[in-house]
């Protein structure tokens, strides 16, 4: 189904609103392909089509939501009835409600590319097979591949509401990944390389292969390091992870509900003066770019930290009304979930230097390959940060021995203040984050 057909379905439900009701309907249709290869053969090939509807109803400020994985007329009917029934049991809030158009003009950004539909199935399979072949051939120490995969999708989305909002979107995406294995005594090291783009022709297979192979073989012989205080050197992928965790605590919802360690700190220096970041979905170079947010408002740049000073928070329409600032166009959602404030396209302002220069400037540090256990090791309320790590030690400006089975610990608050360098090597990552490399000083490394 195309976005206009979805919008027609959504619009028909919206028309059913009673005088005391607000209704918002999201519909989506996704077609996707995924291929996994193993040992030079196609292990599985999936072709999939997903339909979804989500209906949000507010009756006198009380909110109910219902969703379903089908757009059949009887299912749509039941979903509306269920959302209305749910609204009867929630409690009213003067700030609750669907978004109202706020006059901000949406930037036209096309998220659709022809390649997903134009590429023959056999060529898509060949991408995964080729990745496996190239990784196996790249280095004698690669002993196997756990998974090589290619996936793509075409997604259509439409949103309509009783406040007159109508937004549609048609986007494509493609990704490829590989996990090589290298035997290492009685254990193995596993690496990971991936890339994502709007068009399969824009996938950088060289990058995937290089990264996957180096991240595997460069860990061979890794041992547990001694505990120490170290500088962390983070390439753009890992910088994105750390800054992403911090940015998540700047959600208007967390702030209003007393769950952000940065709640009362607007206007204060919360980070190194080198640090500036914002959410900028209007930058077409970012893979997180979008013209509309999950409530149909125009996406816009949202400054968060400038020269180390906290500028503000990101909001959806509810948290924007309640905090008095208005929505920042930051609602994120799938058709089957309620919208809430989120980050679309986090962007860190580049400064100077690159990874090589950073390594050369560190006396005792870790060049980080992976940070593990983020979901259990980072507490976004208290800010406590303690995660598993692997990588290479840096000694006197040189990359030294591989390490694993260790943790790095600090707090999210400290990490921002301890940023010592921000690179000029801005990278637009497939996750939608755009960031250069970073150095963070004074982090506790726990090992033996």
């Amino acid at each position: 189904m195309n976005p206009d057909e979805l919008l027609a379905i959504a619009g028909k439900v919206v028309e059913r609103a009673e005088a005391n009701e607000q209704i918002e309907v999201a519909c989506s249709h996704t077609r996707s392909t995924s291929v996994r290869v193993y040992d030079r053969e196609v292990e599985s090939f999936t072709s999939a089509e997903n339909l979804a509807i989500g209906v949000r109803v507010l009756i006198d400020g009380r909110e109910g939501f219902a969703s379903a994985g089908s757009l059949n007329p009887d299912v749509v009917e039941q979903t509306l009835a269920e959302a209305r029934d749910n609204a009867e049991y929630s409690q009213a809030d003067e700030f609750a409600g669907v978004a109202r158009p706020d006059g901000v003009e949406a930037v036209e950004i096309s998220l659709w590319r022809p390649g997903v539909d134009a590429t023959p199935t056999e060529d898509k399979i060949a991408i995964a097979l080729q990745l496996e072949e190239r990784v196996r051939a790249a280095d004698d120490r690669i002993t196997g591949v756990r998974t090589a995969a290619y996936g793509d999708s075409v997604g259509a989305f439409a949103l309509a509401s009783t406040t007159g909002i109508e937004a549609t979107n048609l986007g494509t995406s493609a990704s490829a990944m590989i996990q090589p294995l290298a035997q290492d005594g009685d254990r193995a090291q596993i690496g990971f390389g991936w890339d994502g783009a709007r068009d399969p022709n824009d996938l950088d297979l060289d990058l995937i292969v290089d990264r996957a192979v180096s991240r595997t073989v460069d860990l061979l012989g890794a041992t547990k390091p001694d505990s120490a205080t170290v500088d962390l050197v983070l390439d753009p992928y890992l910088a994105a992870t750390v800054i992403g965790l911090v940015a998540g605590t700047l959600s208007g919802e967390r702030v209003l509900k007393g769950r952000s360690p940065f709640a009362d700190r607007v206007g204060e220096a919360v980070g190194s003066p080198l640090l500036s970041f914002l959410d900028d979905p209007t930058d077409p170079a970012s893979l997180g770019a979008d013209s509309h947010d999950g409530e149909g408002l125009a996406c816009r740049p949202v400054p968060l930290v400038t020269d180390g000073v906290l500028e503000g928070f990101f909001h959806d329409s509810y948290t924007g009304r309640r905090s008095g600032t208005g929505s920042t166009g930051s609602a994120v959602r799938g058709a089957r979930s309620l919208p809430g404030p989120g980050i679309h396209a986090l962007a860190v302002r580049p400064d100077s230097g690159d990874l090589e220069e950073f390594i050369a400037g560190v006396d005792l540090g870790v060049l980080v390959f992976s940070l593990d256990g983020l979901h259990s090791g980072v507490n976004p309320v208290s800010g406590d940060f303690s995660v598993g790590a692997s990588g290479r030690m840096i000694r006197n400006g040189e990359v030294a021995e591989p390490i694993n089975e260790c943790t790095v610990a600090s707090t999210l608050q400290r990490l921002l203040l301890d940023i010592a360098r921000i690179g000029a090597d801005l990278t637009h990552l497939p996750s939608g984050v755009s960031t250069p490399s970073l150095v963070i000083g004074g982090v506790a490394l726990s090992g033996a």
């Binding site: 009685d186 259990s376 406590d384 943790t407």
Partner: protein, 471 residues
């Protein structure tokens, strides 16, 4: 055995399987699913919203040689199912055995042995569910003035499945789960701290006859309050005593994933080729049991139609067997262990855990703590993660205390515990004679989440690395 209406008529299933097989595949399967979920959320002192979700569909899998083709649809008409069967058959790329075959279930209807659900959540007034949330909120806030924020969530789901395949399997299951969780924030001079508690079982609304939501809320509140007084976690390698219940996460990560046959086969597990060997301390007997009454990871049949099974994985430290799904078992010429599970009809099944637990031992839990001079006692663990290839795992401490001279002393802040699975199993020096199941969990693997349970008695590991900031 309860008779319920099957999701698809048997003769329709036969026709769809015939289409799936008509390119000469080795195996074909129809998996139909109908899931109803409902939830209610209280946050910031108010019932914020109630949500419901309905999802029905069919996934069709066709295996030819080593290659699997898969397609799914939410269009349950004969036309929709046949189209999906054709897509799956075309997608299976390996050389099948070329034989054409038909599937005939005769006059059978699938048997569905549903768990005994006493009170269907769908029959309970939504106002009653909302009332539980408000009770929990009030109880948590009444615990102490420092409790500055409370959220509580109620959720239930009913999942009906039907599995039919070209080996003649025709079976169904009717699974229900009910969940309640409370999260508290405490504010003090040291900043904000959090405490969570969750209960969940594969039963209906009778969950609340067994558990008191107010008590649950007070427990979550006390956990947050305790941490306001906590000092930074130590940094380095220390003996660790893990309390009963949530420590099951240790085994789930330290060896459970490494015993999944799909990872073993690909050389992505440190336990490959080690059946019959001593892989753990002789105190360790580890079981994965999909039959455990009422537990979160329980079911009657797995998502490939195989009956849930109790499987001893490690006995007295010796590796007995891996966990298997149908595809891997087929390749090895053995039977599945009932561990073939999938997130939904949109996903291919793979090897997954169910309820994984360490059998109780002989030691008195107090004696285990008394035997540690300087170490950490973990009362509750959060989630974890493992690299099955290297065996390195991490998991988070969400309630922990120092042990000094055999006594529990000050609480410590959240931090990560890490270790290496094969080493940690050998380093288990004491196993208590107590036992508890932990909180209901969702295990993620290759992008799919499934409900799992785990449990342990009190146990002591000689050395784990604690990822704190205090030297």
């Amino acid at each position: 055995m309860t008779s319920v209406d099957p999701l698809l008529e048997t003769d329709l299933v036969e026709r769809v399987l015939s289409v799936a097989l008509d390119r000469g595949a080795d195996f074909a399967e129809v998996f139909a699913e109908d899931v109803e979920r409902s939830s209610a959320l209280l946050d910031d002192g108010r019932i914020e919203s109630l949500s419901s979700d309905r999802d029905r569909g069919v996934g069709i899998r066709v295996v030819a040689g080593q290659s699997t083709g898969f397609a799914h649809t939410s269009n349950l008409s004969e036309h929709g199912l046949i189209a999906a069967a054709q897509a799956a058959a075309a997608a299976a790329r390996g050389p099948g055995d070329g034989a054409t075959r038909t599937v005939d279930f005769g006059a059978d209807r699938p048997s569905v042995e549903a768990a005994a659900i006493r009170i269907r959540p769908g029959e309970i007034d939504k106002g009653t569910k909302v009332g539980l949330l408000m009770q929990a909120n009030e109880a948590a806030r009444a615990t102490d003035a420092a409790i500055s924020q409370v959220s509580a969530r109620y959720g239930d789901n009913r999942r009906r499945i039907l599995v039919a395949n070209s080996d003649g399997v025709l079976a169904g299951d009717d699974q229900s789960r009910t969940l309640f969780s409370v999260g508290c924030v405490a504010s003090g001079d040291t900043g904000l701290q959090t405490g969570y508690e969750t209960i969940g079982l594969s039963i209906g609304f009778e969950l609340f006859d067994r558990y008191d939501v107010e008590e649950l809320a007070r427990k979550a509140a006390r956990r947050a309050l305790t941490k306001l007084e906590a000092r930074p976690a130590p940094s380095g390698t220390l003996p660790v005593v893990i309390g009963p219940g949530s420590g099951g996460v240790l085994f789930h990560e330290a060896c459970g994933h490494g015993l999944e046959a799909d990872l073993v086969r690909k050389g992505a597990s440190t336990f490959a080729g080690r059946v019959g060997q001593q892989v753990a301390s002789p105190l360790v007997t580890l079981v994965d049991d999909g039959t455990m009454d009422d537990e979160w990871g329980r079911f009657t049949i797995d998502d490939e139609g195989h009956p849930a099974t109790r499987n001893v994985l490690i006995e007295d430290g010796v590796l007995v067997d891996y966990m298997w799904d149908g595809l891997r078992a087929r390749t090895e010429g053995r039977s599945s262990s009932g561990n073939g599970r999938r997130q939904s009809y949109r996903h291919l099944p793979m090897v997954r855990m169910t309820n994984t637990y360490l059998a109780p031992g002989q030691s008195d839990p107090d004696d285990i703590i008394a035997g540690v001079d300087h170490g950490v006692y973990v009362a509750k663990l959060g989630g974890g993660q493992v690299n099955t290839a290297s065996g390195d795992f991490t998991f988070g401490m969400v309630e922990a205390y120092m042990i000094e001279h055999g006594q529990l002393t000050s609480p410590i802040r959240d931090g990560q515990l890490i270790g290496n699975g094969p080493q940690a199993l050998l380093d288990i020096e004491a196993v208590g004679n107590d036992f508890a199941m932990g909180s209901p969990g969702t295990c993620g693997k290759d992008g799919q989440g499934v409900p799992v349970g785990d449990g342990v008695p009190t146990l002591m590991v000689k050395a784990l690395t604690i990822g704190g900031t205090a030297s």
